[in-house]
Amino acid sequence: METTNMIEALQYGFMRNALAAGILVSIATGIIGTYIVTNRIVFLSGGIAHAAYGGIGLGYLLGINPIVGAIGFALASAMGMGLVHRRTKQRSDTIIGIMWAIGMALGIIFLDLSPGYKADLMSYLFGSILAVPTGDLLIMLVLNIIIVTLVILFYRPLQAISFDETFATVVSVPVDRLYLMLIGMVAMTVVMTMRIVGLIMVIALLTIPPAIAGLFVRDMKRMMVASVLLSIAFTIIGLALSYTLNLTSGATIILVAGLGYFMSLMVKSTVKK
């Protein structure tokens, strides 16, 4: 039934692309989501996701691939928010919230100014894993390779600045540069994830898998691996459910992940007793 449906569905190119996209995005969200949760930059990441909408609008206005615009806008706003987060000790969340809204507003105005019908605009807001073109898969693959390489190269200094920034500074780890690199990776991951669940729900796929993993493991590498696997599981299950029940894929994936989170909380509390 459901499984046969899925296997039948896999004969379609869009379904294979959807699965590939789900796996590629899960690798990035599992790894970077672990940093987002342990560094407590969930709000900042949400800000980047929404500010990226400005880039989508700009993409339409200039007639280029909106994803390219989104990457540019996400990286720029990430650097801005990252610097604000680093430099201002108090109330950086206020400034990040302002940048969040300005990015969103810019996107809407850019779209007003661009002529013609914007068919797949909703897909950026709510995701469209079933409509990922092969070209976007290639972008995802490249971004993944960049992220995984950087995390392997800088694993220990990244762990150091996440755990104890002061000590990292004292042992002359380039904290500011590493931090901006991390935020840059967050931006790349956010843009990728947007394709799957939409910018509004990006934050859920970035935080739920590491949040579950964090309940059961006390080791960063394991937390990353567990998050990747959980994210893949949620995406595939969500995708299958949305296909069979004819529901919006992004929202179904998030609900599956959310359900997984609350079930994990219950498991954790029963294990503790």
């Binding site: 672990t34 342990t38 407590r40 190269l153 800088f154 220990r156 200094p157 762990q159 150091a160 996440s162 755990f163 104890d164 002061t166 000590f167 990292a168 500074t169 004292v170 042992v171 002359s172 780890v173 964090g214 493991v217 006390r218 080791d219 960063m220 394991r222 937390m223």
Partner: protein
Amino acid sequence: MKDPELSTADPVIEIKNVSASYNGFPVLEEINLTVHDTDFIGLIGPNGGGKTTLFKVILGLLKPKRGSVRIMGRTVEDGRCSVGYVPQVVEMDREFPIRVWEVVQMGLLGCRKPFRRIDQTERELVRYALAQVDMLELEQRAIGELSVGQRQRVYIARALATSPSILLLDEPTASVDPQIAASIYDMLARLNETVTIIMVSHDMNAVSAYVKTIGCLNKTLHYHGSKEITEEMAQAMYECPVDLIAHGLPHRVLSPHTHTHTHTHNGDHEHD
């Protein structure tokens, strides 16, 4: 570890006319301090007297408004490679996924080439540092599962893993059991044969028993390279000796003259 070009007569830390402030409030004023090789300085002073701030200035975490700091004859940014820092234990995210040995391993990060794998010698160094604070059995534990005192010992091990020529310790035994505190002080005394130590402490027994010299810091520094609280210090630092007396200070720290002097003058404040 030691810079061969540096003669032992040269100061390892030289602080000249340093003033620093936090959000516009002056915390340190006109600090002058010359620290020599294998000194063991105990820093005392009231809360908010600037002890932690002085450490931050030495470590380059806070830029002084005026004045200069040199470590091993070099700038703070270069010189802090030779400094091991043990911060005050503060609250942390107990969920943070990091193991004890990984925390200690942070001490290896500084001043080494990036991207290099940790070699056998460095692995040994981490284990040695953990053994020094009697935490080797718990090396696989997550840091959030430890007690505050155990965490403090891990931070000491992390500082040791930097192979420091200078150790800065900020209240290193504030949350540690008395027996463990004693073993940490014994270890510091042993290390002090080759390592210069500056320690902030409220533990007056420890300060009097282990350090070689005492300085009082209350916005300004009173330090004469001796172990006695002089009359001048006592008067200028007011709160320092009150603190000492209140904690039942062993007599040898105060010079006899100063002792009677402070008592007669500050007797009515001893319940401060």
